[in-house]
């Protein structure tokens, strides 16, 4: 058990990877065995991430040096800087890891019955596992180049999944758009990594952070990194790919692609808070991130109101919700260098942003899954051609209502809790920003009410008389997320205290992150 804890960071990446490599061999037998292997691998990964999380909350940051003679030997003997790749998992990384693996597990279960309609099931599950590997690998790594490699795994598998339904013309177009944006973003990130490597001859995040001087080259690298990760997480000036990609992604994969973009959000924060930290001009960079957030929130929701395609509508809301996280954490970043402001509202803003990440992954995931359930049953994504589904699809309706109430920030749902944390703290920073955030929330509610009326209420349309509830695995996948939302709504303080606050502390504790690898400062 103890050695399982020691090796858990790498096992959480290697186990789904091993399963992905195995699938082409075992899918020769039958699809049931394959499904069991996929679900078992993801469940085991979830277990590993959870025991890793328990260990981190008890004893603090966890490092794992790959290929060294001991896993905690970050720096070779008689030497000053790390040479090997180091996995560095703190409370923030493991928080993101929990989100990624949980959503992947729900999506994998949800996709079982979908795959009976389609060919290529084994390829689908291989790509799904690889997408999970990409997310977890990106979140756990402590090495910049390694982050780039896993970003590429995530991009390629995400694009391939988006293009999965090859019988639709727009599927390959959505996938193509995603892969072009991802490839350009990733190459820009690689260029920035090259700048760091050329200056410091280092690739480890903690080691670079220790010697970071914030030269003009570092500033250029920071700008490139913000633009590149902004492209990947679909913040507004660079959001054009998101609706096309999310709307064509099959079955359970649109939540996963969404969570993958949250992993890029994590990478952006890791770079701002840990790689640069207080050495950079936190006020300016904080405001840049706040502006990205406000633009995303506002443009996302105003475009969403006009949509008639249910998945495009949800995609624009996804953009808008990412804005809240950028806003909350951007406010925290802007006051990072000011200990008084940080203690009075900065930390609360970061906590709100982080709490919003997990809430959003849950309810946005649930909403994407209900939209896909409607598409599964009706064969259309057009809201004008739906109606009266509340009678035929009771559970889906209930899940939709839960998700819609949560995303609009109606008390007592979890979306309300995290949004309240953001409003309160942002109000102290700048009242105008808080007012915009509330306005966006109202527009969100309006948009989801409209979608609810079109799809679920009203008279039953005659052409959908034969429509019944979706199969049980789909309900089960949605149920996992719905139960978690209800739990998070009923006990917000437990969640905040156990996982959100440690993540906040880990994110702003740059010195702790550095000293874990580089020894005492």
């Amino acid at each position: 058990m103890q050695s399982l804890v020691i090796h858990s960071p790498i096992l959480a990446i290697a186990v789904p990877l091993l399963a992905a490599f195995l699938i082409p061999l075992i899918s020769k037998f039958n699809s049931k065995v394959r499904n069991i292997v996929v679900i078992a691998a993801l469940a085991f990964t979830e277990f590993l991430v959870l025991i890793l999380a328990r260990d981190i909350y008890a004893t603090g940051l966890h490092i794992y040096t790959l290929g060294a003679s001991a896993s905690t030997l970050a720096i070779p003997e008689n030497f000053m800087v790390p040479v090997r790749i180091i996995l560095e998992v703190d409370a923030m990384s493991v928080f993101m890891g929990i989100i990624s693996v949980t959503v992947s597990l729900a999506a994998a279960i949800y996709s079982i019955s979908f795959m009976k309609q389609e060919t290529g099931g084994s390829k689908f599950y291989t790509l799904l596992l690889l997408l999970t590997v990409g997310m977890v690998g990106m979140e756990f790594t402590g090495d910049l180049f390694n982050m780039f490699v896993f970003l590429e795994i995530l991009s390629i598998s995400g694009a391939a999944l988006a293009a999965f339904r090859t019988r639709f013309a727009d599927a390959s177009e959505g996938g193509f758009k995603y892969i072009v944006i991802s490839a350009v973003g990733a190459l820009l990130i690689l260029f920035a990594i090259g700048i760091f490597y050329g200056q410091y001859n280092l690739l480890n995040i903690a080691a670079i952070a220790k010697v970071m001087q914030y030269t003009s080259l570092d500033k250029i690298a920071l700008v490139i990194l913000i633009v590149a990760f902004g492209m990947k997480l679909a913040s507004v000036p660079m959001h054009m790919w998101a609706p096309d990609t999310y709307s064509v992604a099959p079955a359970g994969t649109s939540p996963m692609i969404y969570v993958a973009s949250q992993a890029c959000l994590y990478a952006l924060f890791r770079i701002c808070f840990t790689l640069f930290g207080v050495t950079m001009d936190t006020g300016t960079i904080g405001w840049i991130i706040i502006m990205l957030g406000v633009l995303s929130m506002f443009v996302g929701v105003t475009v969403a109101v006009q949509q008639t395609d249910i998945k495009r509508l949800m995609a624009y809301h996804a953009i808008s919700q990412s804005g809240y996280m950028l806003l909350g954490i951007g406010v925290g970043l802007a006051v990072l260098a000011d200990p008084v402001a940080l203690a009075s509202y900065g930390k609360a803003a970061i906590s709100g942003g982080i709490f919003h990440i997990i809430n959003n992954a849950l309810y946005k995931g649930l909403l994407f899954l209900t939209a896909e359930a409607l598409f599964f049953s009706l064969g259309t994504r057009d809201l004008n051609r739906m109606g009266g589904m509340a009678r035929n699809m009771k559970y889906t309706t209930i899940f939709y209502i839960i998700g819609a109430l949560a995303i609009s920030g109606i008390p007592p749902f979890n979306g309300f809790t995290s949004k309240l944390m953001i409003y309160e703290s942002v109000y102290q920073f700048s009242p105008l920003l808080a007012i915009i955030a509330m306005l966006v929330s109202i527009l969100t509610l309006a948009s989801f009410t409209k979608a609810f009326q079109s799809a679920f209420t009203g008279p039953a349309l005659p052409q959908y008389g034969h429509v019944t509830e979706v199969p049980r695995p789909m309900l089960f996948g949605m149920g996992i997320l719905a139960v978690l939302i209800i739990f998070f709504s009923l006990f917000p303080s437990i969640v905040v205290n156990t996982i959100v606050t440690p993540a906040t502390d880990a994110l702003i504790n740059q010195a702790g992150y550095i000293s874990a690898v580089m020894g005492g400062l």
Partner: protein, 152 residues
Amino acid sequence: MSKIVRTITNLLTPFILMFGLYVIMHGHITPGGGFQGGAVFASGIALLIVAFNSAKVQEKLKERHLSVIESSGALMFIGLAFAGLGITFFYNFMVGSSIFGQIPPEGSNPGYMWTAGVIPLMNIAVGLKVIAGLSAIVLVMALASSNIRIDE
């Protein structure tokens, strides 16, 4: 393609494939390695596909066999990484053992085959993977552009 191209291809292909295997096997002592050698080998396959046509190559080289080879290469690679797990993932546990365990003399030396621990084995695993992977990509895209669907 014309008869000249096919004759030259027949002559050249064995040498290209042999050179690819050489680059894979000697990755730890001379320039090269699994990826480079695999790419050379796969370019030989690509030459075959260009010279003859993709349907003809497909008779001998089924896509699903390639995918099995690729998976086994990947499994061998990750298996070697897992084998070091007694100490750490990716630990080079074979340095000093009897297989590939020699340590070369410090500084310039003529190069010894029996060195480098797991590196030669990983080269072979990656080589297998890259041979199968790149050949599969080239083959599938060639088949698709001539409108032949492939079975899974």
